[in-house]
Amino acid sequence: MVPLVKSRLASIPLVQWTAADVANMAVGCGRPALAAAFRQQGDVGGAVLVHGNLTDSFVSFAALLESTVPESGHGDGALLLWALEQKLPVVAQHLLSLLPPHVPALPASAHGTALEVALSHNVSSAVPSLRSAASARLTALGWSDAALRSNWTAADVANWLLLHDRRSLVPAFRADNVNGTLLVALRTAAAVTTGATQMPEVKWGRVMRNVSVSLSWLPE
């Protein structure tokens, strides 16, 4: 960081930083694209940083910006959460765009891929590129049973549902950790349903003795 800039930022309280100060800080920490997002968003001064409890000092803000390597896929979870809560869509879009499509975008308390986060938080400007990235990954993973079993994570399955407008199913699929192996089971069930495969044989005499559904409202 340029010594003169560092000297200024370290000498004044964070809450008094201007938007230019925040952008300069990002540049100084090796995040020029983030600085551009701050500038494009506009009015992201020190007060916004403090208001959202993102950070409270030059030192902690520097640590936050320098602690992550966005391209690594670990992302800026805290920074993204702050941008979403403060309704800074340009900043959020930039942070989401850095994430690989199959990793959780937010800290552990709020799972979800970048695409899911963009959809659920109405970061609509980020959606087209995130859809493309997720789609490209799934295509690269492949659709064979072997590919599904070995390559597809639960996050990939969530992205697949989102890409096909089945967002309502995502929470349940995530809760049950539906991954590629279970999608193979779905495909197998389809083969059974269409008659291509039959269910395992069972002893039907035993079935008829044991079929029992309690219907207490039935008449005598």
Partner: protein, 135 residues
């Protein structure tokens, strides 16, 4: 997404086929039931979501009509009873019973199928016993 049917070789699984499987009511139910029966992946949240979206009017027939995949023209409900055991069976039937009740309650008894007639209720005064409800 990949252009299904264009890039895929003949016989190769496609995304479209998987999507169709997800949207087929019988496949949905069969998938979750088989997973629950296996005991390895209960898929309870998925089943709940499916049942909620399908409703009793669709769940009832799916369970009580003759299922093409069940040997001997059996119903899916009969297969569940035969192929599941213990807590997996209890959990599964706990999911399905309310929908089955709603479906049967909405059907005139005179129009019940044989499979519906074979649904039993516990007998009074007989510990552990069951009595067939017949009409």
């Amino acid at each position: 997404m990949a252009a299904d049917g264009e890039a895929a070789a003949e016989g190769e699984p496609t995304e479209a086929a998987l999507l169709a499987a997800l949207d087929d009511l019988r496949t949905r139910l069969l998938w979750t039931v088989r997973a629950a029966a296996s005991g390895s992946s209960p898929l309870s949240a998925v089943m709940h979501a499916f049942l909620h979206s399908m409703g009793a009017a669709q769940v009832g027939p799916t369970l009580l009509q003759s299922h093409p995949a069940v040997p001997g023209d059996g119903t899916l409900l009969a297969w569940i009873h035969a192929a599941t055991h213990g807590t997996a069976k209890s959990a599964l039937l706990d999911h399905l019973h309310p929908h089955l009740h709603d479906f049967l309650a909405a059907q005139p008894v005179a129009e019940w199928t044989a499979a519906q007639v074979c649904v039993r209720r516990p007998s009074r005064g007989k510990k552990g016993g069951h009595r067939v409800v017949s009409h």
